[in-house]
């Protein structure tokens, strides 16, 4: 009997150490002008997963409602409408404004959240400021009781855009600490956590064809390691576009010109440690163009980057190969 067991063990195939793809429980809603989704690796706990996902979605929506420039009742709209140079804001808006400052530093100034008027001009909703003269000097300081105090030059108004979405995705994932494998999809910007031995397959949208993918990333945590966290974000010029006469404008404003960026990048996707940083760097790569953008991403030490150019090329930094699905 013992000999038979030994023989069976000897002839057994080696244990499969490949990570297991996750088939999640997903809960989605419309928010922030797009979609907001929570994915959880729940196995047999679907009911609890749906309850937790809905709780986190409602919390994210409450935060997003404070940060939207499209809602007259938001705290951001109140700040933009306030004529004073110094305004006290709440903890959520203060935190995202600070994140905007960080994104500006990370992007060598190419991500600027104080460009609302240039953005409205690109949409044809306002006259834009003359290039290079937009007032954008502002700072933020800690205030009493977790508030923050914004000091700004006259006329500075904010558009948090992708910075807010990245921040919301990261904070939403923090709220799901009880779930080792979870994803927050904040309108395309992802905060991802993966438990050891599991794998998230993440498709990079191909904007040229509905439902197609430029590539599929495998974000996996080794079986003998710890849970791993990533941010995956995509930015581009092919979705938000407006035609003014013969000109087509997009929504990514180059702070150097206060006008839509002139770039050969249609779309950029970046993988790094957080959704906020990934979003800022993806937008930076689009504004900077393929050559300068790739060099900047390489210097930033991202874990992966894929860009689609207007010439139809799909380019990637070398380290991306380790993440691409076979």
């Amino acid at each position: 009997m013992i000999a038979a067991d030994r023989q069976a063990r000897a002839t057994r195939a080696p244990r499969d150490t490949r990570p297991t793809p996750i088939v999640p429980v997903s809960v989605a809603t419309a928010a922030m002008g797009g979609r907001l989704v929570v994915h959880l690796a729940a196995a047999s706990e679907e009911r609890r997963a749906r309850h937790d996902a809905e709780r986190v979605l409602s919390r994210i929506i409450r935060w997003a409602d404070r940060l939207s420039r499209h809602l007259d009742t938001s705290e951001l709209s109140a700040l933009n409408a306030d004529p004073r140079a110094t305004v006290t804001v709440g903890p959520t808006l203060g935190a995202v404004l600070c994140a905007g400052l960080d994104a500006g530093q990370e992007s060598v100034g190419l991500v600027d959240i104080a460009l609302l008027d240039a953005r409205l001009a690109a949409e044809g909703l306002a006259d834009g400021p003359p290039a290079g003269t937009a007032p954008r000097d502002w700072s933020i300081a800690r205030g009493p009781r977790r508030t923050a105090v914004v000091h700004r030059a006259p006329g500075v108004r904010f558009d948090l855009g992708g910075v807010a979405k990245g921040w919301l995705a990261d904070r939403g994932l923090d709220l799901l600490s009880a779930w080792p494998s979870a994803v927050i999809d904040a309108d395309g910007d992802l905060a991802v956590r993966c438990a050891p031995g599991q794998l998230w397959a993440v498709a990079l949208d191909d904007p040229r064809t509905d439902g197609a993918a430029l590539a599929v990333l495998h974000l996996a945590a080794p079986r003998d390691g710890q849970a791993v966290r990533w941010g995956v974000a995509t930015s581009g010029t092919s979705v938000h576009r407006w035609r003014h006469g013969d000109l087509v404008h997009h929504h990514l404003i180059d702070p150097r010109t206060s006008a839509p960026a002139i770039t050969d990048v249609v779309q950029a996707t970046v993988v790094c440690g957080s959704a906020l940083r990934s979003e800022a760097l993806a937008k930076t790569a689009v504004i900077a163009g393929s050559v300068d953008g790739m060099a900047l991403l390489e210097r930033a030490g991202v874990q992966g980057a894929v860009i689609l150019t207007e010439r139809g090329e799909t380019l990637a930094l070398p380290q991306t190969l380790a993440l691409l699905a076979a």
Binding site: K165, A203, S235, A316, A326
Partner: protein
């Protein structure tokens, strides 16, 4: 009364005096230290420019070949000017990067999570 002498065993002789080992030990130790010192000196001290008194310092006219290492790159400090005719490379120029132009076709598998530009309606 004189003490009686007791004869020893037949054929035994007194052992001859042995040489003092400390002299040999001292000699070997000193020699070893000297050899180790020379070895370390040879390893640790790189070949240096010849001192004025050494034969290598004699003028080139005495058939001594002086070999100079060609200078290929010089990093300019702030305020320094490049030598005439030098090609100046901007330190801020992006490094050459390896670009993958062919991304493998996505695997045929169900993918639930998708990253998109904001505002994209996921089918």
């Amino acid at each position: 009364m004189a003490p009686l002498s007791v004869p020893g065993p037949t054929g035994m002789r007194p052992a001859p005096p042995r040489p003092n080992p400390n002299r040999l030990r001292f000699a070997l130790g000193t020699g070893g230290v000297a050899a180790l010192s020379m070895l370390l000196t040879a390893i640790a001290v790189p070949p240096s420019a010849a001192s004025p008194s050494s034969p290598a310092a004699t003028p080139a006219s005495q058939a001594t070949v002086t070999q100079q290492r060609p200078i290929q790159y010089v990093q300019l400090a702030a305020g320094q000017a490049p030598p005439p005719g030098a090609r100046v490379i901007d330190a801020k120029a992006p490094k050459p990067i390896t670009i993958v132009t062919t991304v493998p076709a996505p695997a045929q598998q169900p993918v639930v999570v998708r990253t998109t530009q904001s505002g994209t309606v996921v089918p």
